[in-house]
Symmetry: D3
């Protein structure tokens, strides 16, 4: 937490929101600061996708949509997040679109470098492949983490066309590498048919609990937030959000949409219900702008990223 006043996002009352810096919510760039509390880091990588690519354009599109937010005051948490913590945009990791393994190394290094000058990171993807190198870097700083995973899919497959490192496998790899705390992980929003009954068996074996998309409808946002919090306890928490947790109506701009998903109001409600957990890192991934319309997806994604930043401020 900074002692001096923070450098806040450019105000929409001084510079029209469609003008000025292209950073996330028009925050200062990390290169212009000594250090910051939370950095936004773009990871434009989508070579790990199994269906519709395009998430490589996610970071720039989410930043563009974030212009519309007025980030100064969060009326639910009743606080000014960027007065409580210094936010900054750390730009993009440059990674190789032609080599998944090299990119994973590049991303891990990129996250490490930012963490030298930022206490925490909210990553904007990019496909879910980017999670593994982030969690590796997180592990060095915080040890194994409790996980909240919003997604339509489990992402705990083993290999796909022989490839062990894709957007369908990061949580299995993370579990194998000991990056996750035992019995503290929750999938939220899961739905849709599966390749095999073994998918669920494996997933349970890794200690994940599933809150399905239908559960969210049946139980309500508050009960779901309570279930998640209960599992998290006071462990260090990492939140990973695949935008396809939302129904395609709310997030058409993604690579493997599934009918029957959450509304944007539900995910915002659940995230607000997590206020106070010991958040150490977060991401929002799988935003594929070529499939978006009128910024429907990126407005949702940028609001979700803002709520993640607010959780850091809430904890501050």
């Amino acid at each position: 937490m900074m002692d001096e006043p923070t450098i806040q996002p450019v105000s929409g009352t001084a510079v029209p929101r469609y003008a000025g810096p292209s950073t996330f919510v028009r925050l200062p760039e990390l290169r212009d600061l000594d250090r910051c509390d939370v950095a936004i880091l773009g990871i434009p990588f989508d070579s790990g996708v199994s269906y519709r690519p395009g998430a490589r354009f996610g970071p720039s599109a989410i930043r563009q949509a974030s212009r519309m937010l007025r980030p100064q005051f969060h009326p639910i948490h009743e606080m000014e997040p960027f007065a409580l913590l210094q936010g900054a945009d750390a730009g993009d990791v440059a990674c190789n679109p032609f080599d998944i393994m090299e990119s994973i190394v590049q991303i891990e290094r990129g996250v490490d470098e930012v963490l030298e000058r930022a206490s925490s990171i909210v990553s904007i993807g990019g496909d879910h492949t980017v999670l593994l190198p982030i969690l590796r870097s997180m592990h060095r700083a915080h040890g194994p983490v409790a996980l909240v995973h919003f997604d339509a899919h489990l992402d705990t497959w083993d290999t796909y066309f022989g490839a062990a490192y894709t957007h369908g496998t990061p949580f299995r790899r993370a579990w194998e590498e000991g990056l996750l705390l035992e019995d503290r992980a929750t999938h939220v929003g899961i739905r849709g048919p599966l390749f095999s009954p073994g998918d669920l068996v494996d997933d349970a074996r890794f200690g994940f609990e599933i809150v399905s998309a239908m559960d969210v409808l049946d139980e309500g946002r508050q009960a779901v937030a309570d279930r998640i919090r209960h599992r998290l306890g006071d462990a260090p928490v990492y939140v990973s959000i695949d935008i396809d947790v939302l129904d395609p109506a709310f997030a058409p701009g993604t690579g493997t949409p599934e009918a029957g998903g959450l509304t944007s109001r539900e995910i915002l409600g659940i995230l607000r219900g997590l206020a106070g957990v010991n958040l150490v890192g977060a991401d929002i991934v799988e935003v594929a702008p070529p499939y978006d319309h009128a910024e429907v997806t990126t407005v949702a994604a940028s609001h979700v990223a803002y709520e993640l930043l607010a959780l850091f401020a809430k904890k501050a």
Copy 2:
């Protein structure tokens, strides 16, 4: 209320709905009648917007989408609205896109002129700037009104780039001008972060009550309708609907979309729950067709406008 049989909208069983007049639900034009009970008035003006313009095309696009409605019978209220009241389309106000202040005068005069031949008006915007001149005209006819305001945003800001009259300020100006009844106004659907904590303080000072979008999810449409009615009492009521009260999934075609909004079913349900209030005027604004897709937004907007007309008939 007319004594003779009304001239009803052109029936879709006689002329295919994609053919024939381009008036709202294919009502007669006001210019062809002596007078009417409720007139639809287009106000194609969007020079007051702070982010995505385009609402100047709202009136023609809402009329086009309204072709799809079969307006003859309202099955929930169990009545034939255009048998109970004579509806008409009064065309568009011609206002100056290059001068907000002149346009406000032109709109007020345009509304006045229609009110000489119509008992009530449902305006279709246009951006929310158009509300102030409407309310001024309303005030002359009905005195101060109780307000129901559906919107993602408060629209009670003071100035923006020094401009006192924009789409973000009409309710503050209306309050200052004494156009609103004290403690009878409700915002419904509010959400999203704010420029400053003072926004809420000011708003409360003007006597508005907030029913947030999350409240609608948590409390349900019936409870929300009851809360609103309770505040309205039997005062003359004005209903102003910014289409961005809906989630961007339901209304992508708008200028300042906010994640986490209402569904179209919720707003229709709440409006039906207001049956019997003493409605004196209404509008639906901020429909920006360039951002719409497949008429998703304009179908919702035209249905909402139809429900507003039905509220007049219900009262009749």
Copy 3:
């Protein structure tokens, strides 16, 4: 039910889902099998529509979107549907776009021919006109059926421009022809204004019960499923789904969208709640791809079609 192992859909772990056969969920073609348990049959016909045409492209677009499903395991019903029953894609009925009456004959013959080699059919439309010839064919095999009809509209009109056979009339014609069981039919998702109060009177006279879209919001998916099941009893059941039962946000790609509709989660939930009914046939119609965006509608439709197939497997 087959004794030998079934030929399953091509696995997405062997051939990428965007490659390989273009059949529904990449099932084998019926022409390559002796017979099957359930056949998918495309009926590309939209000459019966009253507003936006385009559903003639529905079958190919739904098949394309169905590539994304991983159909092997249904996690809610906990079964492998295509191990329990042999599925197949029977291709398209070729029918005459310039002659509704001839097409109805062609469709009936096409369904008959498939039923010679398939125990059941799930049809993918095409506009709702296609229902009548399907029900005629069904009637020969099963006698009159209990009906579950998901739709925004009643589709029990009499004539339209003098035409007795269009997408607005199939259920009245079916009732007149004795194809439906008395007092066993339910409309789900009805909403929107009507041409005349007589529409509801007629509909009730035919013995339909209405569960409106607002009822689904107010009562919840489980209660609605129970109401429907109660009416069905153990009669042979036919399920007809007009995609416009979904709100335009969830299904923009349709011909007569109505605001205030169901979410995709609700329809999937209701369908799962029908597990165990004596299903004998089903369809999904009115998907108009020219109005779709990013496969939002066709992903929902293909998931719905998959749930219909699962209901057959559940019964198996």
Copy 4:
């Protein structure tokens, strides 16, 4: 030609072009005049299409795009067309989407009725099926006509699925009915492969000459205009324009697009080169708005319709 001053289109300097009447170039409505020189008549009919439907929405979309034109002065012909002739919008023919034969009768009657009060008609379709009843009506007024036919396709097929009256057959039917002058007809813009070599043989037998799309590139707009004029002589001329004569880049919003088409500059250039011919009627058809983007197609179509009107004025 009128003796008194004409009632001109509403000026864009008095009423913003996105406001005001929705008639073609904001002309007066024919119902408000005694008679006029040239009437615009919408024919929203697309039940005769063989591939992508949607042209039923053509008339309203072309009118909407025509708002953008400033129709007062034609700088190439150096004249004020609506000072030279009284233009008017005659609205739409209401025809039955479920019955091609009945619609053809309705269209012929609709054209006849307008011709009672208008010297000439420019029709906006609708699919090319509408041509036959127009030509029948023309024939009564003018006898057989010389034809200029802009199209990617010959439209001289015989039957299609047994149907003799579709959008692929009007010119053969017109020839059979003696509505066309011998050896005066020219197809312009023809391209693409054919169902059979007999198509060209038949077409030549009817006395059509073909100026292919490639000829237009190779010979230039002036030479093509000269070739056409040479064939026309001083006969009464009918010009029929299928918007798919343009390349899909210039007219995506059509039902059977063909690569390799004309540019919009070429068609405007050729039309201007026809100034002075004895034009008696014209149409622009096959505009299918569901496939359009940003009004690219309808802006071109409305400009083409304006050039047709200018040819009448030029002759005046």
Copy 5:
């Protein structure tokens, strides 16, 4: 011209083009340099438009599309423009969307400030209103300029709804203020009908010559470039490009599209034919991203802006 090696745009071989800085062709930011030869300046202003707004999003969208360019080597001019001159992105002018007159002052001041540190400016708009303050600033530095104006429209109207300063009037105002050299100005690409015959008379009176869009087709790009050069002589030259000079097929994303325009190949060819003229300033305006598709317009606009930069380098 710089003595030291320039700081070049980020190479696409080091950082993927979809990643990294969001400046025009990923040039350095002016704020990080002492000064530069040519600065790109965004002017996000569209309150002067008469039809479709949206150009306020032009600067960010053109920068985004410019990522795709590989700006290092220009193969026609056979040079490395950013080795010959130091380019930089100066960000956006913040101007008031609610007040045209104030914005004109803000833009002029913004241009002045950049010119203190940049020898020349290429502005990216924004609507054509922005031209007048740019030319005022230019005039202080260079005196009156010879003008090359690519546009579908003359933009020499007088007032519009009483407003003297809009996107339809800048060249008349500039002429009145003495900002233009007599008889050196050329409009290229003019087409479409006009409000009045007086439009052409006035325009000629100001000493403009017109090369119509049809002239470009008839005469070819080389002859047109020669005509323009001939008029320019060795005067200081300003090039203003309204993207609607292109046909809507090539530039759907603009506010007042006109059929019959130039191809992108033609404008690039003409601009290359101007190599060697004494260019002192340039702009590209009227790019309205809400109407664009797949970056068709912004790719063209960013290429055009690059060619303008190359003309500065060519002169260097």
Copy 6:
């Protein structure tokens, strides 16, 4: 060449073109034939792209658009291509999206397998990476080939992020591997700036000649076809077409669009001008459907693929 009558594409007069098989122009499937003269082979692979991915959906989208063609008679070449040669659709190669090197092996094997039963192949991509394995397979059958390469880009780069095998390098690799005849290769349609002057030097060193997009405008389609033919002589010829050779107006659905490209009429004209060359193989690549609109790109691509097939028939 077959002795017996061929199995022709399904006729659009028997089965509506939007119905029936989803093969290219509704040809029979190769799996149902013993062998064929020319096979269409889909290669859904896009992991080699440097900017916008999506070409993995190219094969299915091109097949869908090809439904619209009436392939029976080619009016320019005056022949029935599928009577002269037996065409067939060989389906898709299944290749690994996560491993470029493995995919190249899989594609080469896939092409080899098809060539066992087909005399020639027209491949539909997929990105340009797929060319190298095709040319390797070609080389085994025909030795080194003369090349006609339509593209905006040279595709003779060396490495990109260290990767030697991407969509930017296939022609260099092919040249290094001796797959191309010396001094017989031509690039057509080249345009746009470059990473370095060395790009052109290298390219010339490999013996390629460049016909730029501007040359096509300046010289005309016939002269260009003649230049190409002159270089080809009677060598075995391979034609590779990157759809981005077309201007983005004609082909928005591609990954690295460049302004200033060819029209679809030009490429069809040039291809027809190659009739009689000794064609041994061909492809059409880089069609990225997520960026397409209304099938503009895929209609062009399917027509181009048809012209390639016609060249085989012409040679037959």
